[in-house]
């Protein structure tokens, strides 16, 4: 796997690069800001761009802007956005184009290397990796929304894992249940939420996201 890395902190940039190389992932280039970043991504076509959201010069959302730009120009390249703070509104931005290959994780997640690599691979494979924090907040945000109230506790758990980007099998593993049980849950969830069942994982997530997003406008 080939990645390009962008983080203004040299410590993290180097640490992450070393860690990735240790895992056999090729780090094509490292950036300490977003200057020339998008062009480099276009040129070198990595599988994933790993980018910190907050970078010079304004230390606000430069990384996010660069990631969105990459999404527009080279949709086949996955983007994994890292941040010290998770904001659902940025997650919605990233997921807005309905394409796969998106990740948005707390920076802390890199300290659990297996989960991080798992997420990275999902993004590289056109899937999604959304921080559990985002998902739980989105669910909390939509607690006041009626349709979600219809879900059972178990269905909520399944929906949360779906939203994070896990496959039915992975969900079954985590919840220690039969995969068919999970499939039943998923189908129930989508029915209860008036959504047609979709085969692909990321489309299911997007459906969830879009529904959550759309809920803002139609309370």
């Amino acid at each position: 796997m080939r990645v390009i890395l962008a983080d203004d902190s040299a410590l993290i940039r180097d640490g992450l690069a070393r860690l990735l190389r240790d895992e056999g992932i090729e780090v094509l280039e490292s950036f300490s800001d977003t200057v020339g970043l998008v062009e480099a991504v276009c040129e070198q076509a990595p599988d994933v761009l790993i980018v910190d959201i907050r970078m010079p010069p304004t230390f606000t959302t430069e990384g996010l802007e660069a990631a969105l730009e990459v999404r527009r120009r080279v949709p086949e390249t996955g983007v994994l956005v890292l941040s010290q703070h998770i904001e659902t509104t940025y997650a919605i931005d990233l997921l807005a184009d309905n394409a796969g290959g998106v990740g948005y994780l707390l920076k802390d997640r890199v300290t659990v290397i297996d989960e991080f690599l798992d997420a990275l691979r999902r993004v590289a494979g056109g899937g999604s990796a959304i921080d559990p924090e985002v998902v739980s907040r989105l669910l909390r945000r939509s607690r006041r929304s009626r349709p979600l109230d219809r879900l059972t506790e178990r269905e909520r758990e399944v929906l949360a894992l779906m939203a994070e980007g896990h496959s039915n099998a992975a969900i079954a593993d985590r919840l220690v249940v039969n995969q068919r049980t999970v499939e039943t849950h998923v189908s129930n969830i989508l029915t209860k939420l008036d959504l047609l069942p979709e085969p692909s994982i990321d489309r299911r997530v997007r459906a969830v996201m879009l529904w959550l997003e759309g809920d803002d406008d139609t309370p």
Binding site: D8, I12, T89
Partner: protein
């Protein structure tokens, strides 16, 4: 404020329409009184009976007025009731014996006897039957030859008895004095009106009309005559009021008790002076006429009381002379003189009545009173012209100043009657005097101009640029300057307090702003420093864990995993701290996203309606902190299941409302964080209110101005 005068173009003042109208009425009444006095006076001097007789008989030949007058005469022998024949004879006898002067009835009869021979007496009774007269007719006069003529004479006599009842009239010199007093009142009213003393002018106008009305005593008609006689009763209290208004307040206060007695007493004196019994009018005098002793005693008592009261007034004015003499105000002298004169009139009247003869006074009693009356408008006029100042002007000015505002200058110009007056204020900015437009004014003066400097609170606060002629009345100028000085001082203090308040507000806003900057810097430092290092540390630990796997003992791997967990926990805690420091999302995405972000993190259902417009940074930040602190309180203390947030900008304000369905009972004090929040909102120029009845949920409402 409606001013009783307006400024004329040339800067002088003139009375308003109300006073002018009153003056016009007084003048018309005055002219009517003068002409009436001449007309009635002429009438009085003629011989109306003879004239009427002549008209009645329609003849002139053979009956000259003198002849006619000598041919008959009459005398009222009863004005109480009809008489029997015997009583009539008895009264007639008394009348013929009573007096022997040439003008008396007896004298007339004697003359008639010389001219016309023996006189016959005929009894006449009027229609009301309460008066009987004896008509004496010369027996060999031409009149007797014709019964028709006798009848006519009878009708004349009848008319004379019923309607045309002559009484004592004003002597011409008294009539003149009455008119002079009236015109003095008119003049004083005009002066008072010109000097904006509207109330005094009004009283003087009423006084003038009352004075002129006295002329009606010349009328032969009983009703008019009585009105004329009663007019002074109205005049007396008016006169006392005007006199008291004329003297300085300090002296007046000491006189008020005396005045309270003097007014009714002098009214009584007026009644005494117009006592109907003195004119012998039976309709009004029966009681007194039948009891002359009671009348005399009572009148003497009233007169004495008048003397004492007015003497007291005079004594008081005199005793307080240390107050009014330095003022150079002539009015108290006039009051003193008038009171003394009144006291004298009262005393003389009392002695007269006690002795039972007009021994002392003769005709001087009413004259003295008239002179005393005349002193009233004279005193008032003197006060207006030479008085210390016009109290009304100063009172108006003080009211104008109290109204405040920037238009001090016209008010001062009006008070001093100088339209060209310019009010200058001391300006610390330019270290000099500036005019209303803020232009610096130098020390140079134009021709006929003068400048009066104003000090207040121990410092120069301004100056008046005015016509030099105002210096002729320095007390008035100083009084106005003192009043203006107070106003300028207040203005100055107001400006200072306002500036200080603004400075405090700005300083508070700066403190808050500095705090915000510091918090943002701390957040940034945490982000770029500790947080990044901890992540890097986590990465190192992970790499170490990878290296350790299978190569070293399992305890190392377990320890490294524990270390990783600790690092993540530290990162989580640090993240909460850093988030509380400064809401990065607010600056990036605005209030709506930031409030959503807050709501997501709290374990309660929150419905937020935030109008998505961006607001000025400090307003946005203050609004955010209101929502954040209120929601934190809801989550921590209220036990609420749900909360509602509304942020809506409206009419230059943002209204932030956070309410919940919890237990209520929240207070601003007690470290709830609401107190500090209230300070922050106040620093942004807004206000915060907490409504939290126990058991009724909590509502935090903040209104913050935003332009």
């Amino acid at each position: 404020m409606s001013s009783p005068v307006r400024i004329r173009e040339d800067g002088g003042v003139e009375p308003t329409g109300r006073i002018r109208f009153g003056l016009a009425i007084a003048v018309v009444v005055g002219v009517a009184a003068v002409s009436g006095a001449f007309w009635l006076g002429r009438d009085q001097q003629s011989l109306p009976v003879t004239d009427l007789l002549r008209m009645e008989l329609g003849i002139d030949a053979g009956l000259s007025p003198v002849h006619a007058a000598m041919a008959w005469t009459f005398e009222i022998v009863s004005d109480q009731r009809a008489l029997t024949d015997a009583e009539f004879e008895e009264r007639l006898g008394e009348s013929l014996q009573q007096s022997t002067t040439s003008e008396s009835f007896r004298g007339e009869i004697d003359r008639m006897q010389e001219v016309t021979g023996p006189v016959n007496f005929i009894r006449f009774t009027n229609e009301g039957g309460d008066r009987t007269a004896a008509l004496g007719i010369g027996t060999n006069g031409d009149l007797l030859a014709n019964t028709i003529e006798v009848d006519a004479l009878g009708r004349v006599a009848q008319w004379q008895l019923t309607e045309h009842y002559p009484g004592p009239r004003l002597p011409p010199w008294q009539t003149g004095l009455v008119l002079v007093v009236g015109w003095l009142f008119v003049g004083a009213a005009w002066l008072a009106g010109r000097s904006r003393r509207a109330t005094t002018a009004s009283w003087l106008i009423v006084g003038a009309v009352a004075a002129f009305t006295q002329v009606l005593v010349l009328s032969d008609t009983a009703t008019f005559y009585l009105i004329g006689r009663l007019a002074p009763m109205l005049l007396v209290p008016i006169a006392v009021w005007i006199l008291l208004d004329t003297i300085p307040a300090e002296v007046k206060r000491s006189l008020l008790p005396a005045a309270a007695i003097a007014v009714p007493i002098t009214t009584a004196v007026a009644l005494l002076l117009v006592d109907p019994s003195r004119i012998g009018h039976p309709r009004f005098s029966s009681l007194i006429a039948d009891n002359p002793e009671i009348f005399r005693t009572a009148s003497a008592g009233v007169a004495l009381l008048t003397a004492v009261t007015m003497g007291t007034v005079a004594a008081r004015v005199l005793r307080r002379r240390s107050v009014w003499r330095p003022l150079g105000d002539p009015a108290p002298w006039v009051v003193l003189g008038t009171a003394t004169l009144w006291a004298a009139v009262g005393a003389i009247g009392a002695i007269d009545l006690a002795v039972g003869d007009a021994a002392l006074s003769g005709g001087a009693l009413p004259a003295g009173w008239l002179v005393a009356t005349a002193l009233v408008p004279i005193g008032s006029g003197l006060n207006t012209v030479y008085g210390r100042w016009d109290r009304a002007d100063l009172a108006d000015l003080v009211v104008d100043l109290k109204e405040g505002g920037g238009d001090l200058q016209p008010a001062v110009a009006r008070a001093l009657g100088d339209e060209s007056l310019r009010l200058l204020r001391w300006s610390d900015d330019v270290d000099g005097l500036v005019d209303e437009a803020g232009r610096l004014m130098g020390g140079e003066m134009g021709e006929g101009r003068s400048r009066t400097h104003i000090r207040s609170g121990g410092r120069g606060v301004g100056a008046l640029d005015h016509q030099a002629s105002l210096l002729r009345r320095p007390e008035r100028l100083q009084a106005v300057a003192a009043a203006v000085g107070m106003a300028l001082q207040v203005e100055h203090l107001n400006a200072r307090v306002t500036a200080q308040l603004e400075e405090v507000r700005a300083s508070r806003a700066r403190i808050v702003s500095a705090g915000d900057v510091a918090r943002r810097r701390v957040e940034r430092d945490l982000h770029d420093g500790a947080q990044q290092r901890l992540v890097a540390l986590g990465l190192l630990l992970q790499r170490g864990r990878r290296l350790a796997d299978g190569r070293v003992c399992d305890e190392v791997s377990v320890l490294l995993d524990q270390a990783s967990t600790e690092v993540r926990e530290a990162l989580r805690e640090l993240r909460d701290v850093s988030r509380g420091m400064h809401p990065a999302l607010l600056a990036e995405r605005g209030l709506e996203a930031a409030v959503e972000g807050l709501a997501e993190r709290l374990p309660i259902a929150i419905d937020a309606e935030v109008t998505p417009d961006r607001l000025p940074t400090e307003v946005e930040l203050a609004s955010y902190y209101v929502v954040a602190e209120a929601l934190t309180n809801v989550a921590k203390h209220s036990g609420a299941a749900a909360a509602w947030v509304t942020v809506e900008p409206r009419d230059g304000h943002v209204r932030i409302t956070v309410n919940d369905n919890g237990q209520g009972g929240a207070t601003m004090s007690g470290g709830s964080g609401l107190e500090g929040l209230a300070d922050r909102v106040a620093a942004a120029g807004g206000r915060l209110e907490v409504n939290s009845p126990v058991g009724g949920g909590t509502t935090v409402e903040a209104v913050i101005p935003c332009e």
